[in-house]
């Protein structure tokens, strides 16, 4: 997968932001825990697949473009259903390009964002 400088930089930025605004206030999962691994995978997918483009690098949304995804992330099944059959102008993302497992990781990543 080709990842440009921007995307590498944005990944780093997300990690930094998460540390500053989210997990820093909680007890962060250890780096080797299954949750931490899922967060890392979810973050990588969120950036690589371009979710950040409309919803922002920390899921904050963009006025007039896309709703916020975090904090207050939808339950995972609701998120999957929305991505498969979005009610808005967001295109549907099929399992062919984004698996349920990947979506669960993205959900874990988004859920790790706190106020």
């Amino acid at each position: 997968m080709h990842i440009t400088l921007l995307r590498v930089w944005m990944l780093a930025a997300v990690m930094l932001t998460t540390a500053q605004s989210g997990l820093a206030h909680e007890e962060a999962p250890s780096s080797s825990s299954p949750e931490a691994t899922a967060i890392a995978r979810g973050r990588e997918l969120y950036m690589a697949l371009g979710c950040y483009a409309c919803h922002g690098t920390v899921g904050q949304g963009a006025a007039g473009t896309a709703p916020k995804l975090a904090p207050g992330t939808l339950p995972v099944q609701a998120l999957i259903a929305l991505v498969r059959n979005p009610p808005s102008q967001m295109p549907p993302y099929s399992p062919k390009v984004l698996s349920d497992a990947g979506l669960r990781d993205i959900h874990t990543f988004l859920s790790s964002m706190k106020d």
Partner: protein, 647 residues
């Protein structure tokens, strides 16, 4: 290549070019790369010695005898005409087709009113005029080369056309083929210069005599500034500029601007009756306001009816601080309304219908089937080729007239029809509208907190910090807000007509920087702090605009919205890839501007602009902003490059 297909010998080519140059006196001023450095250091050695007659002319009072010296060029009179119609500035990128007029402006006219402003591209010349006119309320002139200059200018002319903004285009041209001096004059000459832009100019002319020029220039100003306003083009013949004027100068007609067209009285009465009797009236405004009086009238009309207002933000129409500004609730208000008055809407159909970017989807009506739609506006600039006239919209009552001008009679017609019951009905709406307005402002603040510390910096954070610093000044936003999710309108207190000028009109990239600088030029006369939130992709169409701001000391605060991408296009490509179920991780190809990343602070600094950045930590933005504002308040432009979220 030569005509017979063989390679033209370079030495022969250069020697023939030198011959042409020498005969026109240009050779000494043009570097000749076929010469060694030593020879180039002595360019004057190739000049012919001045004749005794020339020396006498230079040092004494002898008149010109053989046409080599001219006392009274016709272009001097052209400057008089420009002065008479009140043109204060002429943006230009120099070109030989108007060298006569150029010289007259700077010497005969003293380079004051009009003053030449040097631009590095014709698109900048016209873009500056676009922004300037929206603030100054009158056009400047853009002086460009025939053919090549007009072609460079074309995109910005189209933007001004779509935005209904007057710009006075002056294009040099050599019409008489027998007077053209070599191949470049032929390449730069055109039989019908107006044809290049006729689809997006309101009028053009190519005067054949000086009296003709005088009349047409005055007419051009009148045509451009009479609603619907638009760019006009005057082609100025090169020979005419350079010929001496014999006899007395032709008279210059007085520029008498007509009153603006006002809507028909019967139609106004009908509209007033509909609005007064409505249960849920709604006001939607596009390019409705251009003056303080216009905004005051719009507020008066809205308060009289206690009617919610949706501002489509093609201009600064209605204060964001006013409780009747219900723009954030636009979608539900459109659905609920039973009578809607649209004033100077850019796209009537698009205002009352919704489009969906879903395969097979059709436009859907965004208003009730029963709603009565009234439109008030002067727009009638329909030409066949460009389709900026938008999709045809059926309305119930169409009032042809200038929106701002028609507000007064409409107010009086409404006032005359307001029964006690209608007043009570209107009054009953106030409390809820106040509450909803306050709620929308609070929600905006709440939403702005999301991603507050994010890196890249969030757009709401950028706008919030910017507001914190500019609010204490007499400020004006001179860029559009659509790529920033309209956050300035959600967070800032817009309450003066000059605090916003809308967008490009034609959605042609390369608008923001030139228009912002032109607008800042007009604001400079009032000592206002002009602020532009500048997209990175947009700036790179016309980066040279920054030099003009520096060169002419035009104070403008530019804050880069640097998302290192054509971000909207990322979303478009992603949409395609998702629908086609392939490659959704590759939408960055062809859409991002990140490798290498562009250093906008260095770019600005290279052109003499104070700059800082790239700022990536949001906490570093405010201090940089304070330093930048101090520079702008001292009379110079400043730029801060800030790495931002996409939207």
């Amino acid at each position: 290549m030569s005509e017979d297909g063989t390679q033209l010998d370079r030495r022969r080519f250069l020697s023939s070019a030198m011959g042409f140059g020498a005969s026109t006196g240009l050779a000494a001023l043009t570097p000749d790369h076929s010469l060694g450095a030593e020879q180039q250091s002595k360019p004057t050695s190739r000049l012919a010695e001045p004749t005794s007659a020339q020396l006498q002319y230079e040092t004494g009072d002898l008149p010109a005898e053989d046409g080599r010296f001219i006392d009274n060029p016709m272009s001097d009179h052209m400057v008089d005409v420009l002065k008479s119609v009140g043109i204060e500035y002429i943006t230009t990128n120099p070109g030989s087709a108007f060298r006569g007029l150029h010289e007259s402006i700077i010497n005969y006219g003293g380079n004051r009113a009009p003053e030449l402003l040097t631009c590095l591209h014709e698109e900048i010349c016209v873009g500056m005029g676009h922004g300037y006119a929206k603030v100054a309320g009158k056009p400047l002139a853009a002086l460009v080369h025939g053919t090549v200059g007009l072609q460079h200018a074309a995109m910005s002319v189209y933007n001004a056309w779509c935005d209904r903004v007057p710009v006075l285009l002056l294009a040099g041209n050599h019409l008489d083929a027998t007077h053209r001096k070599g191949w470049v004059h032929w390449n730069h000459a055109v039989q019908d210069a107006g044809a290049l832009l006729r689809d997006c100019t309101k009028w053009d002319d190519a005067p054949a005599s000086l009296p003709h020029f005088s009349e047409s220039m005055v007419r051009a100003c009148r045509v451009a500034t009479t609603p619907p306003m638009a760019p006009v083009l005057m082609v100025v013949d090169g020979d005419m500029q350079e010929k001496p004027l014999t006899g007395t100068a032709p008279p210059i007609p007085r520029l008498a601007l007509p009153s603006f067209p006002q809507g028909d009285a019967a139609a106004i009465d009908q509209a007033a009756t509909l609005l007064v009797n409505a249960q849920d009236p709604l006001l939607v405004v596009g390019r409705a306001v251009r003056s303080a009086r216009g905004m005051q009238d719009l507020i008066e009309l809205a308060e009289l009816l206690q009617i919610p207002v949706i501002d489509r933000r093609a201009r600064m129409n209605f204060p964001t601080t006013h409780y009747l500004n219900q723009t954030e609730r636009g979608r539900s208000l459109l659905l609920e309304a039973d009578v809607i008055l649209g004033i100077e809407l850019v796209d009537v159909f698009g205002t009352f219908n919704r489009f969906s970017d879903v395969p097979g989807a059709h436009a859907q009506r965004a208003i009730s089937e029963q709603a009565k739609v009234i439109t008030l506006g002067v727009d009638g600039l329909h030409k066949a080729n460009y389709q900026d006239f938008q999709r045809y919209a059926s309305v119930d009552l169409e009032i042809l007239g200038d929106g701002e001008t028609t507000l007064r009679p409409l107010i009086e017609a409404v006032r005359a029809r307001l029964s006690k019951a209608a007043r009570n009905r209107a009054h009953a709406r106030i409390a809820q509208l106040r509450e909803l307005h306050a709620q929308a402002r609070e929600e905006a603040l709440e939403q702005a907190r999301l991603g507050w510390n994010a890196q890249p910096v969030s757009i709401p954070r950028l706008c919030a910090d910017l507001w914190q610093e500019i609010r204490h000044h007499d400020w004006a936003l001179v860029s559009d807000t659509s790529f920033q999710g309209d956050w300035p309108f959600r967070l800032w207190d817009f309450d003066k007509h000059y605090q916003f000028i809308g967008g490009s009109g034609g959605a042609g990239m390369g608008y923001t920087a030139p228009a912002a600088i032109g607008a800042a030029l007009a604001h400079r006369a009032h000592g206002r702090l002009a602020v532009s939130i500048q997209g990175d992709g947009d700036l790179m169409y016309v980066p040279g605009a920054l030099w003009t701001a520096a060169h002419h000391r035009i104070p403008l605060l530019t804050v880069m919205h640097n998302n290192r991408a054509y971000h909207q296009e990322i979303m478009h490509v992603q949409r395609m890839a998702a629908r086609r179920q392939r490659g959704i991780d590759r939408a960055h190809i062809g859409t991002v501007i990140d490798d290498p990343p562009i250093d906008y602070a260095a770019l600005a600094a290279s052109m003499g602009i104070w700059s800082e950045g790239p700022v990536s930590n949001p906490d570093d933005f405010l201090p940089a902003l304070r330093r930048a504002i101090a520079v702008v308040k001292s009379g110079a432009p400043a730029l801060i490059d800030i790495i931002t979220q996409g939207r």
